[in-house]
């Protein structure tokens, strides 16, 4: 269990982490989500006592980090892939960590085997690919067989197979009753791994919710319909008390009505349909909506139209009741 209480970090007059309070519970994977620069890594560094908080505190199983005698046996962390010495072999990189926490050397070979690096144990980690470096970092986190594991963007640089592997690893570790805290900027990745979700933006807590609730609240489903007689169809739907919103690609989007109903209505009035489909807004969109107001580093595309998502409603007002046709263009993608 990790508890944060009013954790704040200021760099000069920039507030990187702003009064964060939440708990990371055992037995599940907790996803820590936020756009670039949201303060995820800074929060994790403070959890490990590497950065001093401006105010607030972090407790690991009720204790301060520096009170842990052999931290590796309580909490293992992967900060970034390059936090090893490139000139040292994978084995020696881990051995020196093990020694300072009185972990037997046999454990080093064991974790190298676990992450699939046994074959390159004697090779300098300098020559490792990004994914191999990431695996080495994960091996270091597993060294002390800790109850709490913390990963900062573990899937960075991993190939699909590696992503699959770490996803299963985290789930297996959580199933053993461990506390898993993992940061990411990919909602879709978290949806597959995390049981609980903590979202931050500009250092502030935006959401602290179970994954199931998040999906329930945010995966808006709607019906998409295209017709050569769009205006007629729209009037017809309007007459039937159904509100349709033009999606900007010559299609209409309709919330809260079954596709059967729309198909039947169209057939009744002999309107040709080119498409009638059920759609779900992706969680990625929900995440972008949630953090839109707090994204610091926007990319600006050269063409207009591919703008970053519009400043969305605040966390809480869901967009399933959205009626404003203006914001309806282009921010809904097909989802599973």
């Amino acid at each position: 269990m990790i508890e944060l209480d009013g954790l704040t970090k200021r760099f000069g007059n920039k507030v990187a982490v702003d009064h964060l309070s939440f708990r990371v519970r055992p037995g599940m994977v907790t996803g820590f989500l936020g756009p670039n620069g949201a303060g995820k890594s800074t929060t994790m560094r403070m959890m490990l006592d590497l950065d001093n908080p401006t105010s607030g505190s972090v407790r690991i199983d009720g204790r301060h980090y520096h009170e842990l005698q052999e931290p590796l046996k309580h909490i293992g962390a992967l900060l970034d892939a390059k936090s090893m010495h490139g000139g040292r072999s994978a084995y020696n990189n881990l051995l020196c960590l093990a020694q300072s926490n009185r972990i037997p050397a046999s454990r080093v070979s064991h974790v190298l085997d676990t992450v699939g690096l046994s074959a390159v144990a004697k090779k300098k980690s300098k020559g490792f690919s990004l994914g191999m470096g990431q695996r080495l970092g994960i091996a270091a986190a597993l060294l002390g067989d800790p109850e709490i594991l913390m990963f900062d963007e573990p899937v960075n640089g991993l190939d699909p197979e590696g992503i699959h592997w770490i996803r299963n690893l985290m789930k297996a570790l959580a199933a053993e009753g461990r506390t898993i805290f993992v940061s990411s900027h990919l909602m879709s990745e978290m949806a597959l791994t995390a049981d609980h979700l903590i979202v931050i933006g500009q250092g502030r807590l935006l959401a602290d919710t179970s994954m199931a609730d998040f999906i329930h609240e945010n995966s808006r489903s709607f019906v998409r319909v295209r017709s050569p007689e769009q205006e007629r169809l729209r009037d017809l739907l309007h007459a039937a008390g159904i509100e349709a919103v033009a999606s900007g690609e010559g299609a209409l989007e309709i919330d809260g009505v079954a596709p059967e109903r729309i198909g039947e209505l169209a057939a009744e009035h002999r309107i040709v349909l080119h498409e009638l489909s059920s759609q779900r807004a992706s969680l990625e969109d929900a995440f972008m909506q949630m953090t839109a107001g707090s994204v610091e580093y926007h990319a600006h595309s050269e063409r207009d139209g591919a703008q970053p998502p519009p400043v969305g409603p605040h966390w809480g007002d869901q967009w399933d009741g959205r009626t404003d046709p203006g914001s309806g263009s282009g921010d809904v993608t097909k989802g599973a």
């Binding site: 490990l48 390059k82 040292r88 020696n92 020196c96 926490n101 676990t114």
Partner: protein, 283 residues
């Protein structure tokens, strides 16, 4: 190189023994301490190339310069003119000390450069313990290597030039004294590296500290600066080192073991500052 496409990831299930017995895998019998940190730092220092390179070059410089001078003097049949035989080792040691300084800085600053320091401190949250462990390992290693090499060079020099046999005091100064002085210089560099956290920066500063006073003194021509010039000469690191061979560059100034004492104090202050600055800073 093996293929980056790592071997098929093994399924995770098999965990190390110890997990089954629900309660703490290995109930700590004693709390880990400095000894474990020293073991860890020893693994670190012996497993990187820079250690082999810096100490290797130092040994070569000591041997090379020391023996070449001896051989040259013998070949020229030159007269040593009261110069103790062992003092021929001086230039090799002066050059070699740059290597030890480099290693001292790298021991800590390279961790900041690579980001390894975060891993190190996450694993051992006591920053002073980490710094002290590094200092112990580095000091013992550089002291041993310097002393032994200086001893070997001294023996060879006296064999090549059959001048007078050095006294026990001369031997002690030229081996243990020199070893202590060079290792302390390296320790000073390590403390500086811990404060500056930047390898190239700290190495440059240390080389400046070693050479600048002497160079400045050489260029102080005006009489008004004579006293400053005198102090710079006497207390510059090369003259202090030379005093360990009983051939101070200037005849006044601190004598051999005083030099070691002075440097010990300076290093202790620097190390104290480094320790004090550790806890307050982010890494």
């Amino acid at each position: 190189m093996t293929t980056p496409a790592a071997p098929p990831p093994p399924p995770y299930p098999d965990r190390s023994p110890g997990r089954d017995g629900e309660q703490a895998p290995s109930a700590p019998v004693r709390t880990p301490g400095l000894g474990d940190a020293v073991a860890s730092e020893w693994t670190k220092i012996r497993s990187v190339r820079s250690t082999v390179w810096t100490l290797g070059v130092m040994v070569l410089l000591l041997l090379g310069v020391g023996l070449l001078t001896a051989v040259a003097i013998r070949a020229a049949d030159a007269d040593l003119q009261d110069e103790p035989v062992l003092s021929l080792g001086f230039f090799g040691v002066l050059l070699g000390s740059i290597c030890v300084i480099t290693l001292g800085v790298l021991t800590i600053a390279s961790e900041y450069g690579t980001g390894l320091i975060r891993t190190t401190l996450a694993v051992c949250p006591s920053r002073s313990r980490v710094l002290i462990a590094k200092s112990i390992v580095f000091f013992l290693l550089s002291f041993t290597v310097t002393t032994v090499t200086a001893g070997v060079v001294g023996v060879l020099q006296t064999a090549i030039l059959d001048g007078g046999t050095p006294t026990a005091g001369e031997w002690l100064g030229a081996t243990v004294g020199v070893g202590l002085y060079v290792a302390l210089l390296g320790l000073l560099a390590l403390a500086l590296g811990a404060v500056v956290r930047h390898s190239a920066g700290a190495i440059t500063i240390m080389i400046g500290v070693v050479l600048l006073p002497l160079v400045l003194a050489m260029f102080m021509f005006t009489d008004t600066l004579d006293s400053v010039r005198q102090v710079l000469f006497e207390y510059s690191i090369p003259s202090q080192l030379a005093s360990l061979y009983d051939t101070p560059i200037t005849l006044s100034g601190p004598s051999g073991w005083d030099s070691v004492l002075i440097l010990t104090c300076v290093t202790a202050v620097a190390m104290g500052a480094a320790l004090a600055s550790q806890d307050r800073r982010d890494v």
